[in-house]
């Protein structure tokens, strides 16, 4: 059947409409999909809502099972953060550790992955397998050996310590040595970028470091964003590392600080303060995610080699 002018016009009319005015086509499958998604969203948001609700209750009725507090106790937030005069220091410590970890994680992972993905050197694949093999070691197994190792490394009086114990070093230096999983992730991503780009740059006289910094790194933005988010989250939420390595309270991080509400309600957990504190401490993770998720979407358009 030949397409009539009317039909064409009709199609054009639909296409020309702004996206928000376009009619959404509902089908049974779509409705089911929406319901499933809504259910999942609900499952994920319930604990979060529960947190908000508990954070606004009187500590004495914090676990009464009600969704709406009888009385909104906003002072939980101020009380939780005036509970200890070290909170300010703990925020600063956590930010320092996290920022350095993220920079270290992104730079080292990207460099190592570049070498694995885009350079040829003897033994490359063997070394790559070795790197992957480190993923098989459970963290708990290396806990004490790692502690002993760090206790033997000199810190030359950094943060008033002779060795790495009771300094930020065991927390901020390891990210600079890369992480096997992120290296793997990044390597796979980089292999997807056509070699022709690198070759073209090489013909123009660019060094490998320059190709990495100027061409490959910008093209791997989505992966970098993912790794940055994961590293950020990992460092921000780390509990065991700070617990073991930070021994003076002025070096503590927020996660250690949260544990002080454990016996704050006449010998049992003060849930209201704990939830208020947790909520505020969680916000940066949320904000960082929202900022970086833009790069995920951007990434889809970037990797294309249109017109090749």
């Amino acid at each position: 059947m030949a397409t009539t002018v009317e039909q064409l016009n009709e199609t054009r009319a639909i296409v020309d409409q702004p996206a928000s005015h376009r009619r959404y086509k509902w089908s049974v499958g779509r409705v089911l999909a929406f319901m499933a998604l809504l259910l999942m969203t609900f499952l994920f948001i319930v604990p979060f809502l529960w947190m908000i609700s508990t954070s606004l209750k009187d500590a004495r009725v914090a676990s009464d099972g009600k969704w709406i507090p009888d009385e909104f106790v906003w002072s939980n937030y101020t009380e939780a953060f005036s509970f200890n005069d070290l909170w300010g220091q703990w925020w600063l410590n956590t930010i320092i550790i996290t920022v350095i970890s993220v920079i270290g994680g992104v730079v080292s992972t990207s460099l190592v992955a570049y070498s694995f993905a885009r350079l040829r050197w003897p033994g490359r694949d063997t070394v790559f397998s070795l790197v992957l093999a480190t993923m098989m070691l459970p963290g708990i197994v290396v806990l004490i050996p790692q502690y002993i190792l760090f206790s033997k490394l000199p810190a030359f009086g950094f943060q008033g310590s002779d060795n790495w114990i009771n300094t930020f070093l065991p927390l901020v230096v390891p990210p600079f040595t890369g992480s096997a999983f992120y290296i793997f992730l990044m390597r796979q991503f980089m292999r997807g970028i056509p070699m022709e780009i690198s070759e073209a740059a090489k013909i123009d006289g660019a060094s490998e470091l320059r190709i990495w910094g100027q061409i490959v790194l910008p093209l791997t933005k989505p992966a970098v964003a993912a790794i940055a988010i994961f590293t950020f989250q990992g460092a921000w939420e780390d509990f065991m590392g700070p617990l073991l390595y930070l021994q003076s309270e002025k070096l503590y991080t927020l996660q250690l600080g949260l544990r002080q509400f454990e016996f704050a309600a006449g010998g049992s957990v003060n849930w209201a303060w704990l939830m208020a504190g947790s909520l505020v401490i969680m916000l940066p993770v949320l904000v960082i995610f929202l900022i970086f998720q833009r790069f995920f979407i951007e990434g889809v358009t970037l990797t294309g080699m249109g017109g090749r």
Binding site: I96, V99, S151, I165, L251
Partner: protein
């Protein structure tokens, strides 16, 4: 060309961004460097301020408890009471124990020892944090050549951090607050310092402490920690429910048969057969080990061997089964118990269970939450009127109780053990521990401090002290430390009626014996 230009600006942007991040991080780093390396002065100033503040509060608490706030008055009282012979017997003794002195409850401190002492504890609540700061301030005053710092570590994880540090041989504290029942196991794992040579040198033995607290610190006859505070189990009962059921609210049950009679009267069912109120069940908060101990079972012998099929253990298991049967079966009981959470939604504070057992510290929780229960006629709520009593005992056995608590230990490898020992002597001494007890309502392990007149002014305190006199502890099972899990698994089969108590405990014993044989 345009592309290249774009690329260059992009690079510029990235470089400048990186530079910005680098600048910020270096700034932050230098800030943290400042905050950590420069501050000896600042921190000292701050800690001096806190010490001064706690000293002030100590003085204030002295003022509120008895005589006057002025140190001279208190010191004069000390002299007076010492002359009268024995501070505890004098009415004014309350002030005497808070006054500063060179000796702490008969224990001589060696003030010439110098060094740094770092104390790790897990007391972060406002009450306990202030209480431990006061203890540190008192000892700082008595030991001027020792610099004492106290650090909070989260409960449970404090021991992970300590174990890692001891294994590495560096970074451990000089004094750590230990969970006393766990102490022999820690000693066996070579985590703590043997304190016996210090104790012998300074003449410290079990005589000044509740006997069971001292016993819990021993491993192979040597002490590995000095008892600090202690607890004991009490019976808590709902006086509103007692009145409603026609029981005398001032006459709590004292024996198992009285307990059963009272519970039967307190039981109340809804028309649909569910429980409106349960009188009592030994498993609401207790376990077989609590009731076996109350029943007088010595289920671990001095050689460290567990005896799960001890007749008194079997008797206790049978007794518990009687209660779960009366409820309507063990499985139903577990479902019922699962509906409760932490205070104030636990079984007792919610009013759903009229009698329960808990540590004496539960009193402070009741004071904190001031729970409300439904009125008998169903018209609104009223305050829960609660009472405390010693644990009911088996009619055929003497009164007995069951306990845990804390001790101060020196982790193995501490570089300041001598100074740490002086601090431990002070902190477990009469003056410091009395201050701790006044703040926290925890019972001092030191007998003289526990009988402090200002503490005894509270009638509930006398009850807990009485309970301590019958408190027993089970020796450390050095042959199989985790024997409890073998009994835990099999007791359930007895409650469910799948096996008799005797069969279940015999099987537990076989498993224990097999495990011990494996190690040999």
């Amino acid at each position: 060309m345009l592309e290249r230009f774009k690329m260059r600006t992009n690079l510029l942007r990235q470089v400048s961004l990186l530079a910005l991040i680098a600048t910020i991080s270096s700034l932050l780093l230098s800030a943290c460097g400042d905050a950590t390396t420069a501050p000896p002065a600042a921190t000292t100033a701050a800690s001096a301020a806190t010490t001064a503040a706690s000293a002030a509060t100590t003085a204030a608490s002295a003022a509120t408890t008895a005589a006057g706030g002025a140190a001279t008055t208190a010191a004069a009282t000390t002299a007076a009471t010492t002359a009268a012979g024995g501070a505890a017997t004098t009415a004014a003794g309350g002030a005497a124990t808070t006054a500063a002195g060179a000796s702490s409850g008969g224990v001589k401190l060696n003030t010439s020892v110098s060094g740094k002492v770092e104390l790790w504890h897990f007391w972060s609540s406002p009450v306990r944090r202030n209480a431990i700061r006061r203890v540190v301030a008192i000892c700082q005053q008595q030991l001027p050549n020792i610099k004492i710092t106290e650090t909070f570590k989260p409960f449970g994880d404090i021991y992970t951090a300590n174990t890692a540090a001891v294994a590495a041989g560096t970074g451990m504290p000089d004094v750590i607050v230990e969970d006393r029942p766990q102490l022999p196991a820690k000693a066996a794992n070579n985590i703590e310092t043997d304190l016996q040579k210090y104790a012998t040198r300074d003449g410290i033995d079990g005589s000044t402490f509740w006997p069971f607290t001292w016993q819990q610190t021993l491993y192979k006859g040597d002490t590995y920690g000095i008892p600090f505070s202690t607890d004991t189990r009490m019976l808590y009962y709902n006086k509103n429910a007692f009145k409603e059921a026609g029981l005398d609210p001032n006459k709590p049950p004292q024996t198992w048969s009285e307990l059963e009679a009272a519970a039967k009267k307190l039981d109340k069912k809804n028309p649909d057969g569910s429980w409106a109120r349960l009188g009592f069940n030994p498993l609401i908060t207790g376990n077989w080990d609590q009731w076996a101990t109350v029943n007088g079972a010595q289920y671990v012998t001095e050689d460290g061997k567990p005896h799960a099929n001890d007749p008194k253990v079997v008797e206790a298991v049978n007794w518990i089964k009687k209660w779960t049967d009366g409820f309507g079966g063990y499985d139903n009981f577990v479902k019922f118990r699962g509906t409760f959470s932490s205070p104030p939604n636990d079984a007792f504070m919610s009013g759903k269970v009229a009698m329960t057992t808990d540590i004496n510290g539960y009193i402070s929780q009741l004071n904190f939450y001031r729970p409300q229960v439904k009125k008998a006629d169903g018209s609104g709520n009223e305050n829960l009127d609660w009472g405390v009593a010693n644990l009911p005992h088996n009619d055929t056995a003497p009164a007995a109780n069951y306990s845990g608590g804390f001790a101060l230990s020196i982790p193995r490898g501490s570089k300041n053990a001598d100074a740490a020992w002086e601090f431990i002597k002070c902190a477990t001494g009469v003056q410091a521990i009395t201050s701790w007890a006044r703040d926290t309502y925890e019972i001092p392990a030191n007998i003289q401090a526990a009988n402090d007149p200002t503490l005894l002014a509270d009638p509930n305190w006398q009850l807990t002290i009485d309970a301590l006199k019958t408190t027993k502890v089970i020796p450390f099972a050095s042959q199989y430390a985790n024997y409890g899990q073998e009994v835990d698994k099999r007791q359930v089969e007895a409650y469910q009626g799948k096996k008799t108590a005797q069969q279940a405990m015999d099987e537990a014993q076989q498993a224990i014996d097999a495990e011990i044989a494996k190690k040999k």
